[in-house]
């Protein structure tokens, strides 16, 4: 038996593979999700940091703005996008949340401006056309300095004036009704700027408009630059006719402002410089030398009479230069129960600069200056005629040395009261009245009456039953007369007459040569003799009468004072002759006689025998008396002539027809009328201006 114990065996060694450390057991493949995670996180972080700043812009309405689509542009570069569109708590505004790139958002301080750009059609063209396809966008504008990032903004309803690359200025107008926002500023026909929306200044007296002159045109602006309004069109009525001045269509509708730097040497202006806009170019230019912004001194004048023709805007002139305007017209009532009356009130605006006062003058200074002028130089305001044709008035400031002393009433409210002088109104009506008066003063009526008298006589003559009875006789008579005139007797007589005429001519020639009165008297005597001779030979009568009249006329011409009387008596004689029905038989002769008278008068006038006037007058009176006598003798003479002619008529019967007689009678009457007219005219012209007869004027 072997109780051998088995040799002890070492215990089984538990060999286990060493536990690998945990990182050994991790597969490399885990790097993949790790890298992916890192990248994803990186992208996420980057996205978060790059997503930009959210700013909120409030607008009146969100027309055209779409969340996620509408972008924010700065200088036409997209710098952000609209994230959401919501309302303010009171629903009053639309809040547009815009995500803006961080690097841009830091510049957006509280002064940043935002507005919505939409397609716009205006008289100046179409703008924002690209937004028709791409949709509206929000445009922003801010400066290039980082000072305090803001997150909420008020959006503008309209695009602001382009402030970058230009000089902003403020324009001051007295009246803004013609300028609308966006109106162009034109320099030599080029649009160089735009105006904003007009607004009132604090005092309400002026209209202020922000405007921008774009670079590089803003270099044109100096302190000597003057702006004026070119709105609408100008119609000016001048000596050269009507001038119509229309600028661009845009300025016609939207209004327009233009400027010019009239003299060089002005200082460069600072941004925001204040400029006054003058109503028209001439006014703008006229202020260049008087300088400075317009400072106006208000004055009041009170007028007792009518101010018809004076209107607001009428000129105020001083020594011919326009120094102001009439600002308004009114009335002032005197409530005194004793002497109630209404007087007219005229307010003036005197442009201080145009009075030549220095730039720094204040309104008070100008007022004191005017007060001094009123006191020392007797400066007065008065109404004066501005236009003779329209009858419009203006106010004139005049110095009247002989006026009663007066002062500028500074106590008058609201404006100082300037003393007035009597108006210097040249009324066109008055002038015309004078002309008419003068015309009315002409002896038209007398002339007419004389003519009427002569015509009446003719009418009486024509209407006389005897005259009516005459035709047949007259026809015969004329026929006879013709025969008689062609007869030898008459030819002989005519020869005599011619001789007599020749002698008379000689007499008149002597007169023309300024011979002595004796010649004249002799001539008249001769005429008388001739007249006497005529009585014996009735056939010669017409020519004799004619010569007598020549003489008397000659004599008449030589007188001055009594000429009219003589002419009157001559006329009366002529009248007497004319009113005699028998005169019908001598019309042609009378006419000739009168013509001759006129001729002789003309001759004598040229002769100029003034020295013998008095004697001539006496002779003329005698001559006139002779004529009277002759005229009284006329009936007899004519009757005699008639008889002779009748006798002659019995022997000659080959002629005569009523129609022919009528024609001749009419002709005769016409001649007679003309004769009467010329006599009357002659008489009147002599009466009016006796000198003209002598001096030939």
């Amino acid at each position: 038996m072997t109780d051998e114990t088995p040799p002890p065996r070492p215990a089984d060694m538990q060999i286990r593979p060493p536990r690998r450390r945990w990182w050994r057991r991790i597969s490399v493949i885990w790097l993949v999700p790790l890298v992916a995670l890192v990248i994803a996180l990186g992208v996420a972080v980057q996205s978060y940091t790059n997503r930009g700043t959210l700013v909120r812009i409030s607008f009146q309405d969100a027309s055209g703005i779409e969340a996620g689509k509408t972008v924010l542009r700065y200088r036409e570069v997209t710098v952000g996008a609209v994230e959401s569109v919501s309302f303010s708590s009171d629903l009053g505004r639309v809040i547009v949340a815009v995500r803006v790139a961080n690097d841009i958002a830091q510049y957006m301080d509280q002064d940043a401006q935002f507005w919505v750009v939409r397609p716009e059609v205006s008289v100046r063209g179409i703008s924002g056309l690209d937004t028709v396809l791409s949709g509206s966008y929000i445009a922003g504008d801010w400066d290039n300095r980082i000072n305090g990032e803001a997150e909420t903004f008020e959006g503008l309803e309209t695009a602001p004036l382009q402030a970058r690359g230009g000089t902003p200025i403020t324009l001051r107008l007295q009246d803004g009704n013609q300028i609308s926002a966006g109106a162009p500023i034109i320099y030599k026909g080029i649009e160089v700027g735009t105006v904003g929306t007009p607004r009132l200044d604090d005092s309400g007296a002026n209209v202020l408009i922000d405007a921008v002159i774009r670079a590089p045109y803003d270099k044109m602006l100096t302190t000597n630059t003057r702006f004026w309004d070119t709105s609408g069109f100008d119609i000016s009525l001048g000596t050269s006719g009507i001038q119509l001045d229309v600028r661009s269509l845009a300025s016609l509708i939207e209004g327009g402002i233009t400027f010019d730097t009239i003299v060089s040497g002005g200082d460069q202006i600072a941004a925001g410089q204040d400029f006054f806009v003058y109503p028209d170019e001439s006014e703008a230019r006229s202020t260049v030398f008087t300088g400075g912004p317009q400072l106006e001194l208000p004055l009041t004048m009170v007028i007792d009479g009518s101010i018809e023709g004076l209107s607001e805007g009428a000129e105020v002139r001083y020594k011919g230069a326009t120094v102001g305007r009439v600002s308004d017209l009114g009335a002032i009532a005197n409530m005194d129960p004793e002497t109630p009356h209404i007087r007219m009130l005229v307010n003036l605006q005197i442009d201080v600069a145009k009075l030549g006062l220095p730039n720094e003058t204040t309104v008070d200074g100008a007022r004191d200056f005017v007060a001094n002028l009123v006191e020392r130089d007797n400066l007065r305001a008065r109404l004066a005629t501005a236009s003779l044709f329209t009858g419009s008035l203006m106010v004139e400031l005049v110095e009247q040395p002989d006026a009663e002393p007066a002062t500028l009433d500074l106590t008058n409210e609201p404006y100082p009261l300037i003393p007035v002088a009597p108006p210097a109104i040249t009324e066109f009506q008055t002038t015309a009245q004078g002309v008419i008066n003068r015309i009315g003063g002409l002896p038209v009526e007398e002339l007419m009456q004389a003519a009427i008298g002569a015509l009446n006589s003719v009418q009486t003559l024509a209407g006389d039953p005897e005259t009516r009875r005459v035709p047949a006789e007259a026809a015969n008579l004329l026929a006879d007369a013709r025969a008689f005139l062609t007869g030898e007797d008459i030819t002989g007589t005519l020869t005599n007459l011619n001789q007599t005429t020749a002698s008379l001519r000689r007499i008149s020639e002597q007169l023309e040569q300024g011979q002595a009165v004796a010649n004249l008297i002799a001539a008249i005597d001769k005429a008388n003799n001739a007249l006497t001779g005529v009585e014996g030979a009735s056939a010669e009568f017409p020519q004799i009468a004619q010569q007598v009249r020549e003489l008397s006329a000659k004599a008449n011409r030589l007188q001055i004072e009594e000429l009219a009387n003589s002419a009157d008596s001559l006329l009366q004689s002529a009248d007497a002759v004319l009113s005699n029905p028998n005169t019908q038989r001598v019309p042609g002769a009378l006419s000739d006689a009168l013509t001759e008278v006129a001729q002789v008068l003309a001759e004598v006038r040229e002769g100029g025998a003034i020295g013998n006037v008095n004697d001539a007058i006496t002779a003329a009176e005698e001559a006139a008396n002779s004529i009277n006598r002759a005229a009284q003798d006329l009936p007899a003479l004519t009757a005699q002539a008639g008889r002779v002619l009748n006798d002659a008529g019995t022997t000659v019967s080959g002629y005569g027809s009523d129609s022919r007689f009528n024609v001749e009678l009419v002709t005769a009457l016409r001649s007679l009328q003309e004769a009467a007219d010329s006599v009357t005219a002659l008489a009147r012209s002599i009466q009016r201006n006796p000198n003209s007869l002598i001096l030939g004027r």
């Binding site: 991790i26 597969s27 493949i29 993949v32 992916a36 995670l37 992208v43 396809l133 949709g135």
Partner: protein, 200 residues
């Protein structure tokens, strides 16, 4: 449960996963095709989970970032996957919306769920229905190559629609992320060692 499926491991052998030849357990390399032999890939699950996680990480930005950048006549729009589906739905293109939705959302999400399910259930105490799980694995693996529909569409559109101002289509960041996500999930599916399903 009842039917025992014989495995190479159960027979004390190791099979080549590429050519199928079995070897002695300690053989390092397949004598036929030269690929490394391993009875069971012990790190398979790690790789599965790693790729799965990477795919999931890539899938998140693929849904957040825009897939397509479309600009037509000056207006540009960005559309994400889900946004595009909603848009198509709103336009009434239901079939296309469904296709896009299935291809871009249902399948990837389903894949994530399926892979996670398989990986979790591999070692669990109950192993019912091994056939079903194997089938699920095969479906996941098969379907992986068809998950790129979205990326194909984007690639084709981006290359064809380049009409300057009128219309331009560009791929967004999501397209890359989506492509990566699909690639990672395919890799996850491939990393899976289906033999484990059959182990007891």
């Amino acid at each position: 449960m009842t039917v025992r499926i014989p495995t190479a491991r159960g027979a004390g052998l190791v099979a080549c996963t590429r050519c199928g030849r079995v070897h002695e357990p300690q053989t390092p390399r397949c004598t036929r095709c030269g690929s490394a032999l391993q009875s069971r890939d012990t790190r398979s699950l790690q790789r599965v989970w790693a790729w799965w996680a990477a795919g999931l990480i890539a899938y998140i930005p693929a849904n957040i970032y825009p897939m397509l950048l479309t600009s037509a006549l000056g207006s540009s729009t960005q559309s994400t996957i889900l946004g595009g589906v909603v848009e198509l739905w709103a336009h009434g293109d239901l079939p296309i919306a469904i296709i896009v939705f299935v291809a871009s959302v249902v399948i990837p999400v389903g894949k994530f769920l399926a892979i996670a399910f398989l990986a979790l259930k591999l070692r669990g105490p109950h192993k019912p229905d091994r056939h079903g799980r194997h089938r699920l694995y095969e479906v996941v693996e098969f379907i992986g190559r068809w998950s790129m529909i979205d990326v194909f569409v984007v690639a084709i559109l981006a290359s064809l629609v380049q009409f300057s101002l009128v219309a331009t289509v560009n791929p967004g960041l999501a397209a890359i992320c989506f492509a990566l996500s699909v690639a990672f999930t395919m890799q996850a599916a491939l990393s899976f060692d289906p033999r484990i399903i059959w182990d007891d």
